[in-house]
């Protein structure tokens, strides 16, 4: 390469090159120091000022030919890119290979007269390390406004870039922390809900405890007068019968009235028994039993109600079920409760399907956990007895509370709100559980889950 340093013409010590392919020039080609007299051998004061500024500038300031050959540069160029021999090199070489095509494009645009300001690219230092650059390119014009070259100003923004990256990392970290906080907030809300629920349960338990004590206390006092009413009523009924009917006794309407009184005593007794069976601490009299026999016995006991309620029973029993350890009377009580509820849920009659099957519990099942304290655990073998009615189903708001004591959807006088609560207590005493849900096709399903005896 024809390389002619023109120190005399280059008062600030810029590297200069011989005229490039664009043709001979009087000095070392266009440069930022163009503003000098063509004839003067000494730079004028203004040129010296500009040169001093350029020299003090930390940015690389490069004048190159239209073909991109470096013709002049300031001392900042060496500070940014390293190396000392810049003149004659292609300015594109200062840019990494990956970004070079883009730079060349901008260079050509500058040759065509279009300036590019502060675009970000990646350069390479003489020692090989990469430099983040903010680059501006502007056409350099000769006499008559003809573009004679391109001025390139490149600032090392590596530190800035690192700071930006640091800031971005910080921002990311903040985003992650915010997400973590959000999760913590959700968890906090959830545990708050749990605390509220536990508090409610405690209140409920306290309420029950006092109900239990109250019930046990008043039961004796209430049952004795009930016993008297019953004994008296039965005596009067027997008198009526002995007298050969109502006409002879002179009280024609007495017998139906007495029978109504007797039914009322039965009802009051039932309410008290319900209360007590829920409130009393019950112990199980467990024996091994066939769950289907217990279902059949419950159906037998409820047959009158089923018949008058026009409820048809469908059985789908798994014949291979193992015997279960249970208090037969209490499980019978649970089944009868569920039968009566199903009858009440179908006032116009309907179908009640009773299905039994064996199952290995999975984590997807309700009320199933992994902890030793969980009533039923994943992998455990259980027997499910499902009562599926064809009624209207259970409203969602009731599903949550349906096993709560004293919660009833039945009309006043029809239910005590204790049947399902008692049922749940009994099933829990057996180490099992009971679920209520709605069937997609309509109607409700109550599932009693009992442990296999082999467990």
């Amino acid at each position: 390469m024809d390389y002619v340093p023109r120190v005399a013409d280059n008062p600030v010590g810029l590297n200069t090159t011989a005229p490039g392919p664009s043709g001979p020039r009087s000095r070392g080609g266009p440069s930022v120091f163009e503003n000098r007299s063509a004839t003067s051998s000494k730079p004028d004061a203004r040129t010296e000022q500009l040169a001093a500024i350029a020299e003090a500038c930390p940015e690389a300031m490069i004048a190159c030919s239209c073909s991109g050959r470096i013709e002049a540069c300031n001392a900042g160029t060496s500070r940014v890119f390293g190396g000392s021999q810049m003149a004659g090199r292609s300015v594109s070489d200062l840019i990494t290979l990956g970004h070079r095509a883009e730079f060349t494009q901008f260079l050509q645009e500058a040759v065509c007269g279009k300036a590019v300001t502060l675009y970000r690219t990646l350069g390479q230092h003489d020692d090989g390390h990469f430099i983040s650059l903010s680059v501006s390119l502007a056409p350099l014009r000769g006499p008559g406004g003809v573009v004679t070259g391109v001025g390139v100003v490149a600032r090392d923004v590596t530190a800035l870039r690192q700071a930006e990256e640091e800031a971005e990392r910080g921002r990311q970290e903040l985003v992650e922390r915010e997400a973590t906080l959000q999760q913590a907030l959700v968890a906090l809300r959830k545990s708050h809900e749990e605390v509220k629920r536990t508090q409610l349960q405690l209140v409920q338990a306290a309420k029950l405890d006092s109900v239990g004590r109250l019930a046990a206390g008043v039961a004796h006092e209430v049952k004795n007068p009930l016993a008297m009413i019953l004994a008296g009523t039965e005596y009067l009924i027997s008198l009526q019968s002995a007298a050969g009917g109502s006409a002879a006794s002179g009280a024609p309407a007495a017998e139906p009235v007495l029978r109504d009184i007797r039914a009322a005593v039965d009802r009051a007794t039932g309410v008290i028994r319900g209360l007590l069976s829920y409130a009393a601490a019950t112990e199980l009299e467990a024996s091994e039993a066939d769950v289907h026999t217990v279902i059949e016995q419950s159906l037998l006991l409820a047959q009158h109600a089923l018949k008058s309620g026009r409820v048809r029973i469908e059985r789908e029993f798994d014949s291979g079920l193992p015997k279960l350890r249970m208090d037969v009377q209490k499980i019978e009580q649970v089944f009868i409760n569920l039968l009566i509820n199903a009858i009440d849920a179908m006032p116009d009659g309907g179908t009640l399907a009773i299905r039994s099957r064996r199952k290995q519990l999975t984590a997807a099942d309700q009320s199933v956990g992994h902890r030793a304290t969980d009533p039923l655990r994943v992998g455990e073998s259980v027997v499910l007895v499902a009562f599926e009615d064809s009624g209207t189903g259970i409203p969602d708001e009731s599903l949550m509370r349906i096993f709560d004591p004293f919660y009833t959807t039945k009309p006043t006088g029809k239910g005590t709100g204790l049947g399902l609560a008692v049922s749940r207590t009994i099933v829990s005493l057996h180490g099992g559980t009971i679920w209520a849900s709605n069937r997609p096709e309509g109607g409700a399903v109550f599932t009693v889950v009992l442990r296999s005896v082999t467990q």
Binding site: A219, L226, A227, L230, E283
Partner: protein, 125 residues
């Protein structure tokens, strides 16, 4: 003619014992005596020698458990079957007391006359 079975009702509720006595006597097969004071129950049993005793559990001054224990302690009375007839609601409680005192069975109040008669026929010799 077969001797009527003697039934002793020990209960502190005069209304109940009166009505139950009426019911059992109306049946025609039973003689019934009533004792509303638990403290006099043993003396009544000793004097009358019933075939079966219905015994209330919760009474003032002395409870059915103590009465049963005293009856059991007396050789001449120990053979008489005792049936607790009580408003005590917990079966466990009755069983617990019954185990100690050798009670035969129990009926929970309110009780139907039919249940009382069935119980007599089952336990009274």
């Amino acid at each position: 003619m077969e001797r009527k079975k003697r039934i002793l009702l020990i209960d502190d509720e005069p209304g109940f014992t009166r009505l139950m006595k009426l019911n059992l006597e109306a049946n025609g097969a039973y003689e019934v005596q009533v004792e509303n004071d638990g403290r006099k129950a043993v003396a009544a049993a000793r004097a009358w020698r019933p075939d079966l005793i219905f015994l209330d559990v919760i009474m003032p001054d002395i409870d059915g458990g103590q009465v049963a224990a005293e009856l059991h302690a007396e050789p001449g009375l120990r053979h008489i079957p005792i049936v607790f007839l009580t408003a005590v609601v917990s079966k466990n409680e009755v069983v617990k007391r019954g185990d100690v005192i050798g009670g035969q069975t129990f009926l929970a109040k309110p009780v139907t006359v039919a249940d009382v008669v069935n119980t007599i026929e089952k336990f009274a010799a």
